[in-house]
């Protein structure tokens, strides 16, 4: 009874705030919780034109199909490895760029560098992949560079599976580094300048200031973004993969998303794709939870 009374009192007092919250709640129910019923088609042989009710229940058939499929381990391994590459290089690159930009005193030069690194973000993915195709062709710039460094003869680099992960990851870095560094630069601008002044008085060098002041100050942002990145480890977009891969590179390039694209969208097995999507989401959620746990234990920074 007491809680009820408290709520009633609060409602009378702050009713307008409750009204303001209604649209958000409705939005969540309609767009986030409502569609969750759709997950049930993972356990059915869903045919859109027969409708949900008339499609047959098949239990765990699609899950078993996925786990027992001949390419299961390969696509899981490729997805994980591609994302680990992404975490190792793609995640750290913008931090390093932001640290370096932060040290630049010349405003004009800084602005030019920032603009140049942002620009690729606005290029369509299809165009980016077209550029990659040209640069890595038989007589492309990158191919020639690789030949110069390794001293070996190569034809189109996209024809070698060993080059797939580097090409994928580093083209990604090229495209996103400027854009991703913005958030770190913003975090750095809010660092209390008295810290740097105190360090100056103590006669501490630039590298040490970076290491002992800047990095620790932006570490909450880094940790939060890292948790998010780990939470997306099972999900990689298929667009870039299918624009770049070919039979010669399947063994390293074929990931869960591209595999599901071929089966789900091309062959319209909507139930199968939903089942795989569900598995990926569960794994992602588990990873997110574990990373968050570790982060909160070690550093007090966490999502919840």
């Amino acid at each position: 009874m007491r809680t009820g009374q408290i709520i009633k009192k609060d409602f009378r007092k702050n009713w307008f705030a409750y009204v303001l919250a209604v649209p958000v709640i409705v939005w969540f129910v309609v767009f986030c919780y409502g569609p969750m019923w759709g997950l049930l088609i993972a356990f059915k042989d869903f045919k859109p034109l027969l409708g949900f009710a008339n499609s047959d229940w098949v239990g765990l058939k699609h899950f078993v199909d996925f786990f027992q499929g001949p390419y299961f381990w390969r696509v899981v391994k490729n997805t994980l490895l591609l994302n680990v590459w992404g975490l190792a290089f793609g995640f750290t690159a913008p931090i390093i760029l932001a640290l370096m930009l932060n040290e630049i005193r010349d405003g004009k030069f800084k602005k030019v560098v920032q603009t140049v690194t942002y620009m690729p973000h606005f290029i369509s993915l299809v165009v980016v992949c077209g550029m990659i195709h040209i640069f890595t062709a038989d007589e492309g710039v990158i191919t020639q560079l690789v030949q110069l460094i390794t001293g070996k003869e190569y034809t189109s680099l996209l024809g070698y599976s060993s080059f797939f992960r580097p090409i994928y990851t580093f083209s990604d870095i090229w495209q996103t580094i400027g854009w991703s560094s913005i958030i770190y630069l913003a975090a750095m601008s809010s660092i209390d300048s008295t810290l740097y002044e105190a360090a100056d008085i103590d006669g501490i060098g630039r590298l040490k200031k970076m290491w002992h002041i800047t990095l620790p100050q932006i570490s909450p942002v880094i940790i939060i973004l890292f948790i998010f990145a780990v939470g997306g480890i099972m999900a990689s977009s298929y667009e870039k993969i299918i624009l770049l891969y070919n039979p010669l590179t399947y063994d390293r390039a074929d990931v869960i998303a591209s595999y599901v694209y071929r089966r789900g969208l091309r062959e319209a097995s909507l139930s199968y794709s939903t089942a795989v999507g569900l598995v990926s989401s569960l794994v992602n959620f588990a990873l997110l939870w574990v990373t968050n746990r570790i982060a909160s234990r070690k550093s007090d920074v966490s999502l919840w």
Partner: protein, 581 residues
Amino acid sequence: MGTTTKRLLNLLLVSVVAGSTLAACSNNNNEPKESADPAATTESSDAPAETAAFSDISTTIRGNKAPTQEQMDEVNNTLNDTYLGDLYDEKIPSHYDAYPYKKDTTLDIWLPADSQIPEMNNQVVQKQVEKLTGIKVNFITPPVGQEADAFTLMMSSGELPDIVIEPERYPGGLEAGVKDGAYLDLTDYMDKYAPNYSEWRNSDETRRKTTVTDSGKLLGFYGIAPYSEWMWFGMLIKKEALEKTGLEVPNTIDEWHTFLTKAKEVGYSEPLNYGSTYGQIFTGIINGAYGVWDWTFMDADGKVQWGPAQPKAKDYLATMQQWNKEGLLNKDWATADFNQRMASAISDKTAVMMDSPDTMWSYWKQQNNIDFVGALNPVLNAGDKSATTYKNFKRTGRSAAITTQADDVEAAMRWLDFAYSKKGWEILNYGEYGKVHLVDETGKPYFQPDSYIYKDPDGQPVATTLVKYRMHSWPDIRDEHNSNPLIVAEGSYSGDIRKTWTENMDTSVAMPPITFTTEEASREAELGNQLSTLRNEYFAKIVKGQLPVDAYDKFLSEAKKMGLDEFLSIHQAALDRYNAR
């Protein structure tokens, strides 16, 4: 129950009743709906002497090289077909009594567009068909290159048009589409609403057999040719390369090797363009010499076999690996797309293409004045007969199906049926009379030298006008050999090459167009997908030299583990049913 609740309930009830009455009213405003059961509707009288209504105009049209406006109007705007000759073994039907159609309808038609004609609704031939049939159409075309995704999304949305062109895109094929409630089973409507199509498909045993399901159902309208079309894909050599090397057109694999090596010596740095958008390296041309066909084929005992699992596969792969190492193949064969291939085709690097003579006549001869000759598929030993898995079973062009959401099934069928009438055949294959084609003394349509096909007012090349002023691939009676401008254009020899190929190659290994049951289809698609991924990957890597030839053993054992035997037995069962049709 409280009064308020009662009142609310009453209000609800009243509004529901009112709503349904309104709906019923709006239904009544429409024309009386055609009953779904064809037996229930009364047959609109099938006039036996329908052409008798037209006056015979063959004397003025046949052989006329400069028709007057009046004559053009008569041919283009009426259904009079008396001037058209009977050119094939079987007579093309002319049932026109349903046109113009009895009521005003607009059909929604989904189709993958030709990249040259992005806006189908302005296509001149379709405008003319609309005028003659009295049935309006609205074409829905997905963005070029995204057809597969767009098709899946359309099916998933549950909102279907009246007619779908290329309905076999439905996973599991037409039969699955009917079972899942996407398409209509047209078996009971055919005789009634599609007299031309029915008569034409029954005019010949092959036509009948390839347009009916194993269980005897008629599910769609198929493109049906008047004859078995010539094969359209093979080895094409630049004439200049033959002159420079001083060699004859090669035939055996050894001769090919000698020729390509010599071609490289005289300056063609990547003599054989090996890749192909028609299935990467698996074009069934060189591998056919080893019996290692691309996919399924029929062996001498009439059993289905899988090409990549044949005994001489290792020989084939070893040879290709060797050729690749010697630099006889284009370097980018695994990654090149159509435009890149055509760019290297016209460059000095390439001496030999594996492609369609029609395509190469346009790219090589017409646009770049490069002459070429065709070669039969290579053989292993001198004296062997060249073979191919391609055989045209008089089925051609595209198919069409009518969806369960079609408002007026009769209109949809009448519109499709027009393409199988004599007038439909003339207009769809040869376009408009006067501007695009004339008719010769025997009643055979032809493109005159100043036809829009060759002299487009907009200045576009024949590769474009052939889809702009006529229908190239359509559910109709396609007259490929006489109405494909790339073949019949003055000086074109692509038709001769295709004819020679067809007449001199053994097609006993070719599979007929079999169909799978719904249950088979999903398993067949799954296995087929896995097997093709496996084959593409291993074969490409071996030829490229990234894997040794012995990796083939691992490939074969993996293919068996995946279910190759099950895959073959599904095909065998389908073939047996086809033979029993």
